[in-house]
């Protein structure tokens, strides 16, 4: 098989650079984040090398807890909506003819190729008070004053769902695709009607896909601060915006790092839960 015992150059040259890169630009920075969360802030931005738990203690204060709660609310809502909208959508694609399928998947992924900022900007154009929706409604006489559609929590939610929907759909689609058709036939054969078939056979078997999709939606949603900025006008503070602020305007790095650690912990917990049900490879 070519697996030589002697330490030949080949494995080193092939894997070495990548490993080095990962250590330098992934491990080290992450270690720094952890380290910084335990230090004290320096008024000029940056940190002084005095260990402290200030950052973590501050996290427990009322304002920050509120931020956590609103973020979770938003993310959970986003995930649920994405699942509800996305599952039937995935189902339709999976059930299309083999010829059309790849084309449909391509269509689904195409928006992803266009920078999300451009797409969110499109929504901005549609929803602003001088935007399309309002113009249409005004000219139809349905409303008298332009609606405040943009810069609302609803707008942020819309933006999130819009951006993350493909990530929800793909894993679900994959797991529906993998379904063994003979199982469905067996269910029909044993007398299950359509609804029954869905609830008792399809849904349970596609659960791994649903979980993967939820996680791929929930975790990124916590960090999408620019959607909150663009669609919500930075009215409500979410974790993402909070972290960004700590590093930009507030210059409280330990705080920002601590928040990041919290995000990592949440991610790890969710991933642990997920690996009970599915595999990591399915996520890519």
């Amino acid at each position: 098989m070519g697996k030589k015992k002697r330490l030949s150059l080949a494995p080193l040259t092939m894997i070495g650079p990548t490993t080095l890169w990962l250590i330098l630009f992934l491990m080290v920075p992450l270690a720094l984040v952890i380290g910084i969360s335990f230090l004290t802030r320096n008024g000029y931005g940056g940190v002084t090398m005095i260990p402290s738990l200030e950052a973590y203690k501050a996290l427990l204060s009322k304002e920050y807890v509120k931020v956590f709660i609103s973020s979770f609310e938003l993310s959970i809502l986003t995930t649920i909506i994405c699942l509800v909208v996305g599952y039937p959508f995935a189902y339709v694609i999976a059930n299309s003819s083999e010829k059309v399928k790849p084309f449909l998947v391509l269509l689904l992924m195409l928006p992803f190729w266009i920078n999300s900022m451009i797409r969110i900007y499109g929504w901005n154009t549609i929803l602003r008070s001088s935007g399309i929706v309002n113009n249409v409604l005004l000219s139809l006489g349905v409303i008298r004053m332009p609606l405040e559609l943009l810069y609302t929590d609803g707008a942020v939610l819309l933006g999130m769902v819009y951006d993350l929907l493909p990530f929800t759909v793909l894993p679900i689609y994959t797991s529906i695709e993998k379904l063994d058709p003979s199982l469905l036939e067996a269910a029909s054969d044993l007398g299950a009607g359509k609804l029954h078939k869905f609830v008792r056979v399809i849904l349970p078997l596609t659960m791994p896909g649903v979980f993967a999709g939820s996680i791929q939606t929930f975790i990124p949603s916590l960090g999408l601060f620019y959607i909150a900025d663009m669609m919500g006008g930075a009215k409500t503070m979410y974790i993402g915006n909070l972290i960004k602020n700590q590093f930009m305007s507030a210059r409280n790095w330990p705080m920002g790092a601590a928040l990041a650690i919290v995000l990592i912990v949440i991610t790890l917990v969710l991933m642990k839960l997920y690996t009970r049900v599915g595999s990591l490879e399915d996520m890519v």
Binding site: G2, K3, A10, P11, M14, I15, T18, W21, L22, F25, L26, P29, L30, L32, V33, I36, V85, P88, F89, V92, I93, N95, S96, L106, L107, L110, P111, W113, I114, N115, S116, M117, I118, R119, I120, Y121, G122, T125, I126, S130, G131, N135, Y162, P220, L222, G223, L224, Y226, D229, I243, F247, G256, A257, A260, L263, I264, T267, E281, M283, V284
Partner: protein
Amino acid sequence: MKKKNNPFFTVYACLVYIFLYLPIAVVIAFSFNTSKMNIVFEGFTFDWYLSMWSNTLLMDAFKNTIIVAAISTLLATILGTLCAVGLNRFEFKLKGFISASLYIPIVIPELVFAIAMLILFSSMDITMNMATLIISHVTFSMPFVVITVRSRIAGHDPSIEEAARDLGANEIRTFFRVTLPMIAPGVLSGAMLALTLSLDDVVVSFFTAGVDSQILPLRILSMVKKGISPDVNALSTLMIIGSVLLLVGTTVVQGRLEKQEEA
């Protein structure tokens, strides 16, 4: 397999697609608008496509986006492919550890990665510039390349490479004459994935782009409050068309490459 879709479902799917493409359509539509404000469609014009070139801020950002995307894709693909082939062929002690760490950039929230990069460069007293931007992009796209290429190689017959060695090719020659051509579709997939990730990125770039290395999405973000002139739409439309062409192109090439794989 006979699959038929309930017409209700088909309509539903169409609606979802419309939802997905609505903002894109709007951006494209307004690139032809005679009015400066993106409010009402007044008239059809190509003017913005001409004037956008003189918008230096915009063009600089655009140029940066392309450069960063191109370089980071190249680097990520090379590093990632080598790594994938190496991991596939060799067994060694740290293999599990390296495989696992490749998943980290995929799993952690982008934001966390972004500030980690910020902290790294700041602590080394490096101001953000093109280099930091490119490095960050490579770091988060490389694992995707590795995984994509690896899953492609997995199905391969190892005796083909053995045959090459048997016939006199050393390891390097085997890699270039045999391995690489065989995994080409996978490498292409991986490269496309890296390119997409780079072009689409907002969060990481936000933190790792310097003042003079602004890329397009950040430019747009800063322009939103002030009002965006339609030449942004024009540029965006061009990028959209470019992306579509690229996607279609690579799909075709992929198909051709894969056909010869069926040995």
